[in-house]
């Protein structure tokens, strides 16, 4: 399961077995992703920074489930858009390395805040 390609295939089959491919167009999946990230916001909204680092066991398990859901919809999006995940990751890592050179970005919240990507 550590291999992302295997997981994508598994999720594709899960949707296919249930005839859910009709719902999994990119627009709908972006909304589903927003819904799941909204559940993460709901978990963390009233926690202060320290509390967000030290979750109790039940909240941590709940968070783990929501993170997995976000990952599932994200991998479905790569899949239905036919975007190669590994290629996209490598291109974006290169872009980020150029946009945020260590010398200019070190501990620099202001710069980091103002980025427009």
């Amino acid at each position: 399961m550590r291999d992302i390609g295997d997981l994508q295939l598994k999720l594709r089959q899960f949707a296919k077995d249930r005839d859910w491919e009709q719902y999994h167009n990119p627009k709908n999946l972006v909304m589903a992703l927003s819904g799941e990230v909204g559940e993460l916001s709901d978990i963390f909204q009233w926690l202060n920074e320290e509390q967000s680092v030290n979750l109790d066991a039940a909240t941590k398990e709940h968070t783990a489930e929501e993170l997995a859901d976000v990952l599932f919809y994200l991998l479905r999006l790569f899949d239905v858009l036919d975007i190669d995940l590994v290629g996209a990751v490598e291109r974006k890592l290169d872009i980020n390395a150029k946009n945020y050179p260590v010398s200019l970005s070190k501990g620099n919240a202001t710069k980091y805040n103002k980025r427009t990507d």
Copy 2:
């Protein structure tokens, strides 16, 4: 890069090199994730379903970059919360298989809509 663990280490190092770990607490990372998913919404908001499936090359590349950003913040969240991604994925796949048995969920939008996970 296909191995998720390798990518997580790379992203951790990227943050460390820039002293950005101070910003990467779970609460902040959930907000960063929301911001990136908001950019995906921005891309797809006025497209109809057919247009969302047939993106032009520039929009597809833009989408690929945003998907990669979502993945980066998501992997950072698993990392800073010390949640094992593989374990979380396997547990959630089991839960989903129980919540959506093929026989009851096949092509069933209503059921799918009403789920509360």
Copy 3:
């Protein structure tokens, strides 16, 4: 209640009565807003355009409740940030009128899609 100022005062008092002002800082309220908008995404994610226009009575009432929640957190944000809602609305209407002149924007999805506001 039609007057926005009255509603803001009512919501401020509601929070004050429950000692919730400690949670209602701008950062937390933005997350709460994200959470509520996520619930709207959850309602509409698998609906097609036509279904989204013709909601059944129960879904419409559910949607009305979520829209009210979004409005409440939005008004709290204006309030705790001490941003005058009427002034902000008038300034943004002016900006939008300049950015989207009727002659250039009429039925123009591409232009509308590419806007960066």
Copy 4:
């Protein structure tokens, strides 16, 4: 402009003048709302609580513009769904008053965190 009904009419006319009504179905407007809230997340993501309370003038003005955009899409949603804003607000205020009685909710973060609305 303090009257919400007047603002809704103005926004409706703004869309009509540009033939944008074709894009403003509920599903699309929820995505537009998500996009705008994502921009608010982008502003606040790396700020700590204290910084989020004391925005510099430029950030405050940027935030005011985004808050206005959120309000515009929210009012369009009430409008195209034909949901009476005043009625929805009053019903939800009643629900909230019942769900969060002062005696049980006072300063009670745990209760507040666990609410499911």
